[in-house]
């Protein structure tokens, strides 16, 4: 049997459509998009078509899309670029306590540089407290950065409310939409945000490519120095196949959103209800306001990594917390922010499906999961049946 991949929030398989779109740009139409000759112009056209596809998926204008090397770079550029561009206006940033490291490490960096950052708490479902965010606003606040869908627990944040508050106070809003594009509708005007980060490999596109939406009129300072590509905001020879792949991934994601998200939701709900039949299991995150592909579960008395490894030995790929923190020993900062005890946080597993998963795979997981949990609990000094 093939492995059962339930770690789609860590990364996804590149789809056939994306593969097909990218392929010619590696070895046939391999020109440099900045070259004047035919091979270069061919590459340029491909880049601009992809820009249209990305803009189309986000309800943005092509001029508002900048290609980057991934979600992390988009987040870094958005936050540092805006913080620096508006630093004469103020030096205060508001974010949440459950952001991805690409956001919170950037905020930590800016703190060291003299910026002030407020980390707004979340409720026990992992939803940002908009009222507390509002209360945190100061005259010198220039940027609010709050993620759209959390990568660990999958909760959807009240972005519309937050951007409303921001607008009233003339503050720029950035959102990390790396986990939401392809899962829920992402429209920059409906969300009311000024900057939005996406990453190719989270939506069946390639790794090493991302984009940043920057609303017209938003000032931003480049963090990259060189040939002036992407209007100087992202220097370096354009990653043409990557860009084409991201464009196609966005187009496919937008076109198939309804079907894909319905399928993901069904698989997710089957997995959740099956897993909750095991004794002492809880679902982390909001039960309804959550990504269609995310089931984050805490299994009391067992530690997440050993559960992950045992699932792995049974051919099932999952993760504990976020992949990035999988080598750290600290419990997930997101689960702790939601108020879980460290024990519960240590025993959490994230199952994230995609439309490539099948009902049979979920059946298999639900068959193995109780055995594995039982085996680990038997080894656990904490478990008293």
């Amino acid at each position: 049997m093939d492995r059962i991949y339930l770690d789609n929030s860590a990364t996804t398989r590149v789809s056939e459509e994306v593969m097909e779109a990218m392929m010619p740009y590696f070895h046939k139409k391999f020109g440099n998009a900045s070259s004047l000759h035919t091979s270069g112009r061919e590459a340029r056209e491909a880049v601009e078509k992809a820009r249209q596809q990305v803009a189309g998926a986000l309800g943005a204008d092509t001029k508002e899309i900048v290609f980057t090397s991934g979600g992390t770079e988009s987040d870094n550029l958005a936050i540092i670029g805006v913080a620096r561009a508006y630093c004469t206006k103020g030096n205060h940033i508001i974010t949440s306590s459950i952001e991805h490291s690409a956001v919170y490490e950037t905020c930590h960096h800016l703190e060291k540089q003299g910026f002030k950052v407020t980390y707004v708490p979340v409720d026990s479902d992992g939803i940002i407290k908009a009222e507390e965010l509002k209360a945190a606003i100061r005259p010198e606040t220039t940027l609010i950065t709050v993620m759209h869908i959390n990568n660990e627990i999958g909760t959807i944040q009240p972005l519309e409310d937050i951007s409303e508050i921001a607008k009233e106070n003339e503050i720029i809003v950035h959102t990390d939409a790396v986990q939401s594009l392809g899962k829920v509708n992402v429209d920059v005007d409906e969300l009311g945000i000024d900057l939005l980060s996406i990453s190719g490999h989270k939506l069946h596109g390639p790794k090493g490519i991302g984009a940043l939406f920057i609303r017209k009129g938003t000032k931003i300072k480049s963090q990259s120095f060189g040939g002036g590509q992407e209007r100087g905001l992202r220097c370096g020879t354009e990653n043409v196949p990557g860009i084409v792949g991201l464009g196609q991934a966005c187009e496919s994601a937008a076109r198939n959103l309804d079907g894909n998200s319905a399928k993901m939701r069904r698989l997710r709900d089957r997995l959740i209800s099956g897993a909750l039949k095991i004794d002492k299991v809880r679902l982390n995150g909001h039960p309804a306001k959550r990504s269609p592909n995310n089931a984050n579960l805490s299994f009391s008395f067992v530690e997440g990594e050993s559960l992950l490894l045992m699932l792995d030995m049974n051919g099932i790929d999952v993760s504990t917390g976020s992949a990035c923190s999988s080598k750290e020993l600290e419990p997930s900062h997101v689960l702790i922010a939601m108020g879980l005890s460290p024990e519960e946080a240590h025993g959490s597993i994230r199952f994230t499906n995609s439309h490539y998963n099948t009902d049979r795979e979920i059946d298999y997981v639900l068959e193995k999961l109780p055995e594995i949990v039982a085996k680990l609990r038997e080894m656990s000094p904490l478990y008293r049946p």
């Binding site: 008395f301 067992v302 530690e303 990594e305 050993s306 490894l309 045992m310 030995m313 080598k327 750290e328 020993l329 419990p331 005890s341 460290p342 024990e343 240590h346 038997e378 080894m379 656990s380 000094p381 904490l382």
Partner: protein, 128 residues
């Protein structure tokens, strides 16, 4: 990231369980930190006759628990006390640097169990 030896012990841990009438029990770690380990020993003629463990922890924690019980079984108490953290890691073909503290945990639990046994012995002698 784990060696085949670690994975083998993790998937097939030796000496899991409790000894109801153990002569010594060592408990280390803290579930808050994501790890907790209990080692039970049965002693005869100053030798570890039986040993069992229960572990809440990562793959390395479970594998080191398993391997240290194998290493300790049959050894005299002094020999068992000499088992170092490095020996445990070596026996497993190495551990990822970030996981070195797990091998400490297992060695510490064994020491604690032997300590508990010896304390009980002294108390027995004194109270006798």
């Amino acid at each position: 990231m784990y060696t085949p030896k670690v994975m083998e012990h993790f998937s097939n841990p030796r000496n899991v369980g409790e000894i109801p009438d153990a002569d010594g029990i060592g408990e280390v770690g803290n579930p808050k930190c994501g790890d907790m380990m209990t080692i039970y020993i049965k002693v005869e003629n100053d030798r570890i006759k039986d040993i069992k463990f229960k572990t809440f922890g990562c793959g390395a924690a479970i594998a080191t628990s398993s391997v240290i019980t194998m290493m300790a079984k049959g050894k005299t108490l002094d020999e068992a006390l000499d088992i170092t953290r490095d020996q445990v890691a070596e026996e497993l073909g190495g551990l990822p640097p970030v996981k070195m503290h797990c091998s400490n945990l297992a060695a510490d639990a064994l020491k604690a169990a032997i300590g508990d046994y010896r304390k009980r012995q002294t108390t027995d002698i004194v109270s006798r």
